[in-house]
């Protein structure tokens, strides 16, 4: 640990990020610019989330890192090891034990508590970017609450597909003010953003933005009276643990078109299996099946 400052970043950088976090909490859903630092990992690996985690971690934390719901991907393992090495923190795969969770593209199934902080890795923080490439223009649109184009885009989805086809990074409105990109979580997770007891922080490294949802903030997925938002998921139960209310990944099991549906949240699924719940293909495991 002697080669690094605690949690890698120097104190002045952490102070700058911490000031941005406080602003972000004071203006829920607004993207606060910050001077992103080089981290010893590529941008696609969640350097925005890593910098938030580094600025928030204390030696007393128990850290969980998930990538699409799983604790054991290369990305999750390498971030977890990075903070074990640079901050000496305890780590866990159990959502319930974690005090700080860094996530890529999922919200855990186990409800979060007031004692937890959830840090999201964000690739593209600007929800209006695909409608308007110019930063000066999107900033103006947020200032004037000009969100009509976003509704037009969702409505075009309905015209073309008979429903809103956006299934990830589904835009939300925060406390009736800012439209926000919740990061590429499945829209199934959107309802968990709202009224959440935990602090939620979002970090985009390449785009140099931090935004936040304080606890118990009201977050509404954009929709229409005649096409209300639906937090959909595959219409199956988990084949391993039998859960009917968790988000599922589809896994191809053989070359004859065999497939199974399993919880994307591996800690949630394993916990249910340990508690004696069983799905259609109980006893097989996701890794071996794939």
């Amino acid at each position: 640990m002697s080669d690094y400052n605690f949690a890698y970043l120097d104190e002045q950088t952490k102070r700058m990020i911490r000031r941005a976090i406080l602003k972000a909490l004071a203006i829920p859903g607004y993207q606060v610019p910050f001077a992103s630092r080089e981290m010893p990992m590529p941008y696609g690996w969640g350097t925005g989330g890593v910098q938030l985690t580094a600025a928030c971690l204390t030696p007393d934390d128990c850290l969980k890192v998930i990538d699409q719901g799983a604790d054991d991907t290369t990305n999750a393992v390498s971030i977890r090891k990075f903070f074990q090495r640079t901050a000496g923190v305890a780590v866990t795969q159990a959502t319930r034990e974690a005090t700080l969770i860094q996530t890529r593209h999922r919200i855990p199934e186990t409800p979060l508590t007031e004692d937890q902080v959830l840090v999201y890795q964000v690739p593209i923080p600007e929800p209006l970017r695909f409608l308007e490439p110019r930063e000066t223009e999107t900033r103006k649109m947020h200032e004037l609450e000009e969100y009509g184009l976003m509704h037009v885009k969702l409505y075009e989805d309905i015209a073309r597909h008979g429903q809103i086809a956006t299934s990830y990074a589904y835009p939300v409105k925060v406390e009736g003010r800012y439209v926000m990109d919740p990061s590429p979580i499945p829209k199934f997770d959107n309802p968990k953003l709202s009224d959440c007891p935990a602090i939620q922080l979002f970090g985009a490294g390449r785009e140099q933005r931090i935004y936040a949802l304080p606890p118990y903030t009201q977050v509404v997925s954009l929709d229409f009276d005649d096409y209300p938002f639906e937090a959909s998921k595959p219409d199956h139960d988990c084949d391993l643990c039998g859960a009917s209310d968790s988000y599922l990944d589809e896994v191809i099991t053989d070359d004859r078109g065999g497939r199974m549906f399993v919880c994307s949240d591996t800690d949630f699924c394993a916990g249910r299996v340990r508690a004696g719940h069983a799905g259609r293909l109980a006893g097989r495991n996701k890794g071996a099946a794939a």
Partner: protein, 180 residues
């Protein structure tokens, strides 16, 4: 010179988590005692050491004997008039709220944080609602009207940290304030 932080990385990490919880949950009273500055209580001094550095112009309002050299030594922040402040600190009657920056319509984050040292800080009095608050909270604010006017500027506005001895509570611009 009165010391700053004994072990800056570790103390500041724990201190920031306390401050972050306070800002995320307006009206909750937290304890923060990392340092004892001149002229103010430990919580105010701790917040200053957590956030101030050479990039944050400071406005010191009113008579705060010994504070300027202490901050110069430990934070190195330039001192400024209220208009240029990114952090302002002082006692309630001394703070020139109308002169502090509230941010811009397209950059509401370019605003000041105001550290207000009070003689009392209790979970009673005016009623607070908004993001971070489940139901409502109560806090012994020194006034009501200035905070209602501040909320009306949202998303621009000032963010307040009230301190009293080693205790603190926050009132970000997003919080709605009503008489109890």
């Amino acid at each position: 010179m009165i010391p700053g932080l004994a072990d800056p990385p570790i103390q500041s990490s724990r201190g920031f988590r306390v401050l972050m919880q306070a800002m995320a949950r307006p009206g909750t009273i937290q304890r923060l005692n990392l340092t004892q500055p001149p002229a103010l209580g430990p919580a105010a001094g701790s917040v200053l050491l957590l956030l101030a550095d050479p990039t944050t112009p400071l406005h010191l309002a009113g008579d705060l004997p010994g504070l300027a050299p202490w901050l110069q030594f430990h934070a190195g922040s330039p001192l400024t008039g209220p208009e240029g402040a990114s952090i302002a600190v002082g006692r309630w009657p001394d703070l020139p709220l109308d002169l502090l920056p509230v941010g811009l319509p397209d950059y509401p984050d370019r605003s000041a944080m105001v550290i207000v040292e009070l003689d009392r800080l209790d979970a009673e009095g005016p009623r607070l609602t908004g993001p971070g608050i489940r139901g409502h909270a109560s806090l012994s604010l020194p006034a009501i009207a200035p905070f209602r006017a501040n909320r009306a500027l949202f998303p621009m506005g000032l963010d307040f940290v009230f301190t009293c001895g080693d205790r603190l509570a926050c009132l970000p611009r997003s919080t709605r304030v009503e008489a109890a």
